[in-house]
Every structure is written in C-alpha cells, then in structure tokens.
Subunit: 359 residues, 2 copies
C-alpha cells in the first residue's frame, strides 16, 4: 500500500527527487563528499545555485530586472524583511486580510513600527471568500499592498490579482508558488518558504524587482535585500542542502512540463476533489467556488467526532496528515505539485466508502 | 584511496551519520515519508528536536537555567540577534578583536546603532596571537563582552577565557563548539552555526542564560530570543532536515565519548600536525603556541606558488579543500570532530614527502 502525504508543509516532495538525494548523498558528483559537507564557495555548489536560479527564472518567466534571492527564515522572516526593505518612503503598507498568514504578516509589520491599513477583509465571512479592496488605493499613500496569494489554512487563492492603482504589490506565495501561473511583472516582490511546494524547510525564495531594492540603515544583514542581491545570496553560508534539494525539484518541474502543466494537474486534482465534496451529502468545502485554492482543500462533515473518524480511516488507508488546521477544524488535503493524481483518487475513494458506510 | 575533507565549513560530517541519513532518507522510521517531507509539528520531529536538545545539554553540561534555541541565519544572524536581544541597557558592547569574524560581529552591531568598543586587538600582530583586555572592564558599562572562542581563519582559540569583571560574556563558538571543553556557566550567551563542527549549514545553535532574555520591541521575530524560548524554537517552520542531521551528529558524539574524548582526539590530531610543522624546514604555522586552535591550522611555505603546488599535491592524494583563506594565504587544515586521525596522518605524510622532494 503506498503512503500519500497530504501535509500542508513541510510536505510531499517528488519521489524521483528523494531517490536522487538518497543516491548521491554520500558522494556528490563522485567527489567523495556529501552535499551536507561541501563548501558554498565550491565549484559544485556554484553550479547548483546558478542552475537552480536559471530553472526558477525559466519556470516563472522571471524578467532580468528582478533579482532572485535565497534567504533563510521562511515567510515569517519575510514578514519583517518586506517592510524593512520596501516600506521606507511612507512606512505604511496596505493589507488584504484573507486569513491567518495575512494577519501574521500585518502583525509583524506593526510590531516593527510600520502603519498597517487593512484595506479589505473577509474575517466576518470566516475567510470563506477573498477580500476585495473596499476603496481604490490612493496613489502615493502606501509603500505596497500585501496579499497572500494562497491561504494555506483557509483554502482560498487569488486567481485574479487586485487592481492596485499603481501601488506595488507584494505576494506571499509560500503555498502556491509554481502551482499556478502568475505574472511576475504584476508584483514588486514575491516570496515563498520552500517547504510547501518547493523543497525541504530551511530556505526562502525572494523575487524582487531590482529598482525597489536600496540601502537601508540599521537593518540586520540576514534581512537585507541589497546585501543578498549584491552578494548573490552568498554573503554568509547559505542553507546548502535545502538549496540543492530545491534545485532538484525545479529540474523535475521543468522535466514535467513546467508551471502550466502543474497548473493543469493541480486543477485536475483539486477539481476532482471539489466535485466529490460538492456532490457529497456528508462532506463539504466551505469556500466560495471562484476563490478555491488549487493546493489546499479544507473540508469537514460538521461533526468533529465524525471528522476524527474520517481522519483515522484515511490514515489506515495510507492517506496521511489530513487533519485540518485547528482554527478551521475538519480535514485539509494539500495537493502540492509533488502529490500525484493517484493520491487524490485514493482519498476520494476512501471518503466515498466512508460516506457510504455512514449513510 | 579515501577522500578526506579538510574544509573550514561547511565541513566533514561523521561517516556513520551520512550513512544513516542515506539509509532512512526515503522513509523516516518506516513512515513512508522522508525527513524532508515531515511536519515540524509531527510526533517524529518532536522526538528528534527534544532528543537533540537533551544530547546537546548532556554533552556540554548545559544548566537548566540556560535555554537552547535552534535558529536560522548562522553566525551572521547572531551578530545582529546578540546585541538586539542583550544590549538593551547600555546599547554598548565590548569586543576582543581576534580576527575576521570578531570584526564582522562588531561591524554588524555598529551598523545596527550599538556602540562597540574594541577593548583589545591583535590586528597589529596579524592576529597571530590572542588579544588581552587592555584594561579591566568597568562594571556597569557594557551589556556584554563579545569573543570569538575559535578563529577559523586565523587559527587561534581561547583555551582560557578573559576575566570579564562581572560583565556578561558572549561567545561565538561556531568553529569549536563541542571540540573542546568550555564551561557554559562562564557565558551568558553561546552561539554557533552548525556547518563547521555540528552538521549541515542551515541551523544555528543558541545557548542563552534565561534571565538575560526579555521582551524587546521592534525586533524581527526570527531574531527574537524571547519568542524562540517561549515557543521552543517552533514559532514557525524550523529547518527540519538540518536539525535532524545535527541530532544524529550529537548522538554520534555521545557514542564516541563526548566532548572530553573529542578534545583529547583534537589535541592529538592538531598536536601531530603542529609538531610536524614546527620541525619542518619548509612549512610553518604562524600562531603563538598557546593560542593555537585545535580545529583550524593555517600553514604555509612563505611562497604562494609553492603553496599552490602543495595544495595540488594534497588534492591528488585525496586531501581536499586545504586552500587557506584569502586573507591569510597558504594552506589551512580544519580538523573538526568528524575528521579522523588517519586524515591528519595522511596529510602529514603528503607534506613530508612534498618537503623531501623539494629539499
């Protein structure tokens, strides 16, 4: 019986990538040294990080006037880095409150002394749909508008971006980077912790328009975009293994057909699950249909005890990590790029039989 | 022919650890999931991080009134975190300038707005010996005194600590943590990037006396000791793989006999190499004998072309990454815990024959 990992992050990685890491772990490229032992200044690692960047640029069609940075600290690190680096004119940012991680981003900016204006929120709707701008943004007011392109916990995603009226758009893309097509040019800054859709925890991808980056005083080096841009992410020792593993995932993505093919597969995977849930008499997904995420699908019966039984039945069938986030309850299936369609079919099959047995 | 990795960091890890990582990479504990895929909230990872902390506490004899934090960002991250968290009374720190990394620590604190007083320096001696305090520290002047316990580039180590006269001591122990015995009680804060003597790059160990930790406003979460202490290093997703790998190294260290046994081996390894260098007519180590590092041994012929030939001859013999740091030149052998005595013997043998052939 295969095991399928539906975790929200850290999450499933492509099986061929895991196999390759295992195969070459003791001796990278016949060097006699492990990827965990090689210098970040070595020719071997230079090749790795340069190829990873080139593959990411090809996959996302990143223009040359955007820098790619490999940082540490995850989305939480960027909740600080984004305002510290970019909110230097107005010290004021706009935020679309679409759920937990948007709130966390706002809280971090506030705690660092920035003014954060919530310019739209669906909190009152339990985040079952996406916020719109209550009013058009006034030009020259905000350093940027922050959105969470995919809300891992609530199961929503911006498939269309808000009209920013010239204000720079910052996207926390942690849980749907490379899962669906976005136009990088629509953003001034995109960031993503790797551990959801890209690789192991421990590295954070930052894509930033170069003209937004400038020297900022009193800024810790590890959060300094200018420094990371100038030093090509090698000011100090980067997380070598995590970058290597992301690089292998990026190669795998290109071999599989890139972002458009991933989006097609993710629409297929999530579509099958949403269709099942919408037809089910027992399970439901609470999200407005046009706001539904391709990567994170929360669902429930409405009865917490019954949900727990479903989770146990799934686990017995090798369908792992389906417990929903505590703030939402129920179940959550994360359908990242590396999760095969067969996993979704197995899940639907398990849910179908559970429902039949409990009718 | 075995390959020996003398790199200064990222650096050699114990072979049994590399083998174990490889063996269990596709399925941690029979879970069907890789360590790169499991949640940081899972029972499996909870066991890993708790055992790693317990092993570190046992190895270093860390008292209960010290917290152990697993952070990101390496020594450079801590060059910011240390003053931001601890230098809140006087906004002023004292620094013993023992070389490159001490200077970098001082520069980071200065750039963040702290006053940094260099209270001793051996810069004029090319850092060939360790600085002493020019004057006793005046009580109530500094939030702490920063030292680099082992200077990776210059090849010196504080085997005896400076008398701080009651001032809190902060030790950057990145390149000799667990390589020789220090008394944790002598420090208010110890930090170390893992990638020299502990594991793969991507995780930073912080050992801090709990009473020094307090709420600080306007502090990025990823640098916030109070938050990491309160959340047991799990405020956000930690670098799961790097912590796991460090945990395996810590287990290996305990099996090998702990820090005292490591210090004995490192004295043996470095002693053999220093003895050879001191007797050599071709090679020399420039460091004052009582300041010599157990883990990093720079040496040279005094002729850069000849040094390059030595490096090539070593590489041909499977002795890798012996090029010295550009600021010092020559060669550097890093003899971390995971490097076996046989590697040092092979190096001495290679150097001996090179010298004989060039006599």
């Amino acid at each position: 019986m295969p095991t399928y990992n539906f975790a929200a992050g850290p999450a499933v990685m492509p099986e061929p990538v895991i196999n390759q890491i295992q195969r070459e772990l003791p001796s990278l490229g016949g060097s006699g040294m492990s990827i965990t032992e090689i210098s970040h200044r070595s020719a071997a690692f230079t090749d790795i990080i340069e190829r990873a960047e080139a593959d990411l640029r090809a996959l996302m069609d990143i223009p040359d006037d955007y820098a790619v940075l490999w940082m540490q600290g995850g989305g939480t690190g960027q909740f600080a880095a984004a305002p510290l680096n970019l909110a230097t004119t107005h010290q004021r940012i706009a935020l679309l409150d679409s759920g937990h991680w948007a709130v966390r981003a706002g809280d971090e900016a506030t705690s660092l002394g920035f003014k954060v204006d919530v310019v739209g929120s669906t909190k009152a709707d339990h985040y079952h749909t996406l916020p719109e701008l209550a009013h058009p943004l006034t030009a020259g007011t905000y350093d940027y508008l922050h959105i969470t392109t995919n809300n891992t916990i609530e199961g929503t995603a911006f498939h269309q971006l808000p009209a920013t009226n010239g204000t720079t758009l910052v996207g926390d893309m942690s849980s749907n980077i490379l899962a669906e097509r976005y136009n990088v040019r629509d953003f001034g800054l995109i960031f993503a912790g790797a551990q959801k859709n890209l690789g192991p925890a421990g590295v954070t991808i930052v894509i930033v328009r170069r003209d937004l980056v400038h020297q900022v005083s009193h800024l810790p080096s590890m959060l300094n975009y200018q420094l990371f841009m100038d030093k090509h992410s090698l000011y100090n020792t980067p997380p070598v293994f995590a970058i290597y593993a992301c690089g292998l995932v990026l190669q795998w993505l290109r071999e599989q057909g890139g972002v458009d093919e991933m989006e097609r597969r993710n629409r297929e995977k999530s579509g099958r699950l949403y269709d099942f849930l919408d037809e089910s008499k027992l399970f439901y997904n609470p999200v407005t249909s046009n706001a539904r995420s391709l990567t994170n699908v929360p669902f429930m019966t409405g009865d917490a005890d019954l949900d727990a039984q479903v989770i146990a039945a799934c686990q017995a069938a090798g369908l792992m990590n389906l417990k929903g986030h505590r703030s939402v309850g129920g179940l959550r299936a994360s359908l990242y790029n590396a999760l095969p369609l067969a996993a979704v079919d197995a899940l639907i099959d398990c849910l179908y039989h559970f429902e039949k047995d409990h009718a």
